[in-house]
């Protein structure tokens, strides 16, 4: 029997290839993701082991604040420690290390690098020492308040040469420096595409931190002792009671590498989710292909049964074929994935993430994982068709070709209807107050229900959607419509990838549209000013706090206030905290304080909390919250007010005064401006723009533009979704192509007959094309409906987050329908050509 199966596989290479393509698609994304992530990790591993290769020890503070999003702020240490460490026996050289936000302004006045998305921009200290990672490739080390050096990649990008004047934006505003040196970071021109402005240690301290403070001390030993011994020696020499620690070069290397991996893991997880969605959708295609091929082989299998093969043998031979297909497909998918990952790496390079290439990393686990998952998915997808093939009665050998019906109507109705109704009931329960988590289950139920009911609705939906085509395209349209409806199971399985992709995309688009509507509402209500200056650098760097003060001085500005963000540790956990200036915020930005609390009376150690935080932590006016600022300063924050809406201000809001006298570097993410009544907006705008230009950072926007832009941020989410859409489009196209090819093969006789009685090649093509379009539209229409439900459910689950509006993304739905139409046309191209090539005589002779 095994030999029969093998022969069967080899005899039908065409089918083997078609089925394999489905597997290839699913596994290629998986292996591509795996290779890409491994390559990226290896690249950064190499980079940092290279960078720290001469470092034997590393001295830093033990005080660190971690936040929700993987941000980490470590307390700074005193510069004088460099000299202390340098004196320790066994130390050859010690150098300060200090790194923070800074942005180089290009000669055209535009900052280098891509603000917001793209590699970060840094300023750093540099010193002529064996212990410093930076080394000059041109010129000399900068000295004093007026000199700067740049990393080689930035110098080249900005076309700077030694002696040029370079403007750099830092926490304390923007300043001009003379370029005296161009530097390399270890062996690379700039690490990971980030930009660097380099100053001597004292200048860096005053620009990036506070005078006299640095991040850490980098130590190079003289080789007389091991790193561990050296580390112990240094630790012993450090002043006590200052929360200092010394770690080895190996430890700091490992830590940095791990940090990068954590930062990248989000990316990897995202890609993996995509890959698994691809695999899931692809498995529908595999299932479909096996079902069709089982149906087409019904007669053959029946003959085998008639001459004495057992059910098991027929089923096993099908599974054996699946195994072969899975193996071939997975291996090809693995190769395809390697190509895909090479493409991704090239893409990264194209958007400016220039990484030292270390070659693609194809790990054994990638290979094993891809092939095993590919095999499992294929065999599992083939299980049902294989068992069905085994159940073929020997009598079917005498019967006509494959007939597929939607199976037992009642059974399917129950199997599909139950989860569907269950899902709807769960949604109802959640609306009625049940736990939000149940919505996940509801979504799953609804999807299972929809896919099970697919074959039942495929026929009526195909006939309905095909009606306009039938009436417009004459008999070819009529035949296309009937063809799409004649195998409801096949049609619904073919449309399933389209359905899943479209449903996901529609849901997320609905979510995005709703969030946007919400944002518009909230910003429109709370921001009562006329202009804003905003920074794109979310969470890292931003506008200098002096900008708001300078804006206020401009003629025609009635009031201006800066709002920023910082991190504090509350109960051992880092929290983002909104920083306002209570004296100027009133009248421009209403954070919505409840009762009669006044924002203007917010004191230096006062805090305003959101209503939700107050409820959760049982806070009332006068409660104290022990907190630690990111430089280690301990404060007891006193609750002085509660606000309703936490979408803008988050959990906690404090006064900028809180940071006075600390070493926390602070930025504003926005400056909000109210003009004096009667001032000409255009003139004021040009004055403001001049100021912004002189700072070299920030974007000036009118209120309306600002609100548009806030709403547009959600579009980044959409970008992601379009990736998903693209993925499902490709899989759907391949699925439709395969199904159509098999259908054309199956209907050769019919096509031959039609050609004989006078159907032209063009008409044959048109029939296949319209069938394809109808199938694709079935997926799109049902997917959009399902997506609306899904989107509604997601928004329902976010009602606690304050999202209450539900917007139907009608225009996106229209776009999706158009895309589905095009997908149908594209997918039909090859099968339609094949259909016109059907040999009429050969087809007639088989009659």
């Amino acid at each position: 029997m095994f030999r029969i199966a093998l022969k069967g596989v080899l005899a039908r290479k065409g089918r083997l290839i078609l089925t394999s393509i489905a597997v290839v698609l699913g596994t290629a994304f998986l292996s591509g993701t795996s290779v890409f992530t491994a390559t990226l990790n290896r690249t950064f591993d190499n980079l940092f082991s290279d960078v720290f290769k001469n470092v034997n020890a590393y001295v830093r503070s033990t005080e660190v604040v971690d936040t929700d999003f993987g941000f980490q702020e470590r307390q700074r240490i005193e510069t004088s420690l460099v000299d202390v460490v340098a004196e320790v026996p066994g130390v050859d050289a010690a150098a300060a290390n200090l790194q923070a936000f800074a942005r180089i302004v290009g000669k055209d006045g535009k900052p280098l690098g891509n603000e917001g998305n793209g590699p970060p921009t840094f300023g750093s200290s540099v010193v002529d020492s064996k212990a410093d990672i930076w080394q000059m490739s041109q010129g000399r080390f900068p000295e004093g308040m007026n000199e700067v050096a740049l990393d080689e990649a930035s110098a080249e990008a900005g076309k700077f040469v030694l002696g040029d004047t370079v403007k750099v934006i830092t926490a304390v505003g923007s300043q001009e420096f003379t370029l005296v040196g161009i530097a390399n970071y270890g062996d690379v021109r700039s690490p990971g595409g980030a930009t660097f402005a380099l100053w001597d240690v004292d200048t860096a301290s005053s620009l990036l931190a506070k005078p006299g403070l640095i991040d850490a001390v980098i130590v190079v030993g003289d080789g007389t002792m091991t790193d561990e011994e050296l580390t112990a020696q240094i630790q012993a020499a450090l002043p006590t009671g200052k929360n200092l620690e010394t770690i080895t070069g190996a430890q700091i290397t490992k830590e940095t590498q791990d940090d990068i991996k954590t930062a990248l893991s989000f990316f990897g997880i995202l890609l993996t989710i995509f890959a698994f969605i691809g695999l899931g959708v692809g498995s529908f295609v595999i299932y479909n292909v096996f079902s069709i091929s089982a149906a087409q082989r019904q007669r053959e299998n029946a003959l085998l049964r008639a001459i004495g093969a057992s059910r098991r043998q027929v089923t096993l031979s099908m599974l054996m074929e699946a195994l072969a297909v899975g193996l071939v497909g997975s291996v090809l998918g693995l190769l395809g994935g390697i190509g895909l990952s090479a493409g991704l790496t090239a893409l990264l390079k194209a958007i400016g993430v220039d990484l030292p290439s270390s070659g693609l990393v194809v790990g054994t686990n990638t290979i094993v994982q891809t092939i095993i998952i590919g095999l499992i998915v294929t065999v599992v997808s083939a299980l049902l068709p294989a068992f069905r093939a085994g159940r073929v009665p020997p009598l079917a050998a005498m019967r006509d070709t494959a007939l597929d019906t939607a199976g037992k109507l009642r059974v399917r109705l129950v199997l599909g209807g139950t989860p569907l109704l269950g899902g709807v009931a769960l949604i109802g329960a959640v609306i009625g107050g049940a736990r939000t988590e149940l919505l996940g289950l509801a979504i799953l139920f609804i999807f299972i229900g929809a896919l099970t009911l697919g074959p039942l609705v495929a026929r009526p939906v195909a006939l309905t959607l095909g009606r306009p085509i039938a009436s417009l395209r004459g008999v070819t349209g009529r035949m296309a419509r009937q063809n799409a409806a004649r195998n409801p199971k096949r049609t619904s399985r073919t449309a399933a990838p389209v359905l899943i992709g479209v449903a996901l995309v529609t849901a997320v688009t609905a979510l995005a549209a709703s969030i946007q509507a919400e944002i518009r509402g909230v910003f429109g209500e709370q921001f009562t000013g006329d202009f804003t200056i905003s920074s794109e650098a979310q969470g890292f760097g931003g506008l200098s706090p002096s900008l708001a003060l300078d804006v206020a001085k401009i003629d025609g500005v009635k009031q201006a206030t800066g709002i920023g963000q910082s991190v504090v540790e509350v109960e051992g956990k880092g929290r983002f905290i909104t920083v306002i200036n209570p004296k100027t915020v009133e009248g421009i930005f209403d954070i919505g304080l409840l009762d009669d609390a006044k924002v203007t009376s917010l004191s230096k150690s006062g805090v305003l909390v959101s209503e939700k935080t107050a409820e959760r932590d049982n806070l009332t006016n006068g409660s104290t919250i022990p907190a630690k600022l990111s430089d280690g300063t301990q404060v007891d924050l006193v609750v002085e007010g509660v606000y309703a809406n936490d979408q803008l201000a988050g959990r906690y809001t404090v006064s900028s005064e809180l940071f006075e006298g600390t070493t926390v570097s602070r930025f504003d993410f926005g400056v909000y401006i109210l003009k004096t009544e009667g001032t000409d907006s255009a003139a004021l705008r040009s004055d403001l723009q001049k100021l912004v230009d002189s700072y070299g950072s920030g974007t000036l926007l009118s209120k309306d533009e600002y609100i548009d832009k806030q709403a547009a941020q959600v579009n980044q989410l959409l970008g992601l979704i379009y990736g998903l859409l693209f993925l499902s489009i490709i899989i759907a196209i391949v699925g439709i192509i395969i199904t159509l090819l098999l259908s054309v093969y199956e209907r050769q006789r019919e096509i031959g007959l039609l050609r004989a009685v006078g159907m032209t090649r063009g008409q044959v093509r048109s029939t296949v094309r319209w069938e394809s379009v109808i199938t694709s539209l079935i997926g799109a229409v049902t997917g959009i409906l399902l997506g609306f439900v899904l989107g509604y459910v997601v928004i329902l689950s976010l009602r606690d987050q304050g999202i209450t509006k539900f917007e139907l993304p009608i225009s996106s739905a229209v776009t999706i329908l158009i895309v589905a139409f095009v997908v149908g046309v594209l997918a039909a191209a090859y099968p339609a050509r094949r259909a016109t090539k059907v040999d009429v005589l050969a087809a007639l002779n088989t009659m």
């Binding site: 009529r478 009937q482 004989a756 009685v757 006078g758 032209t760």
Partner: protein
Amino acid sequence: MSPLDNQTSSTTLPPPPPPGSNAAAAVVGASKVYGSGDSAVYALNDVSVEFRKGEFTAIMGPSGSGKSTLMHCIAGLDELTSGDAYVDGVNLAKLNDKDLTVLRRTKIGFIFQAFNLVPTLTAEENIKLPLLLGNEDGDAEWIARIIETVHLRDRLTHRPSELSGGQQQRVAVARALASRPSIIFADEPTGNLDSTTGTEILTFMRRAVTDLGQTIVMVTHDPVAAAYADRILFLADGKVVDEMREPTAAKVLDHLKSLGN
């Protein structure tokens, strides 16, 4: 004609003239060769034959004698290796695929042994298929008359799977007649039917010729079926070996026996 031409052409005869004006279809000097050299098979070997308008011709001959090949070549479904095929005075060799398709749709009707119908279309759509494909309305009165003749009025909305074998074959006959073609080709149209139903179909075909003035060429193995025709052509080894006019089943049987000897 120069002596040189005489040497290079395979036959020294001048090209045969096109068929007469009362021929619905004809082949002249038709040969169809499969393979080449020693293994060459002559499916048709220099056949010249005319099918006159309003005549019912049966083609008989042992399996492999070239009956289907002859039909396919006249019907524009296959190409002759040499010689010419004419339908309605048009030389098929001069037509491209598109023109041939249109010719089949407008000038030729087909009745096959089985699987004549498109399963997704209703009986009425199947009948009108050549017209629908050509985006034509056709002659409504004519079509009504055909449907009446083959007794299908109450089956028009049914699909092929809902029709019996005999009914399906009647639909096929009606389709072949619908566009009032110049000639109808039937390849063993009763081969799959029991004798009563077969008789019914043959009666319809006979009436199409006698009452409606159609031209039919039918391949058959059955002497009883062949007896419905006006004349019978006997094929063997790719050649027309005999012809019989005004056949009866008994005459045909006798003749077949004599051929067998």
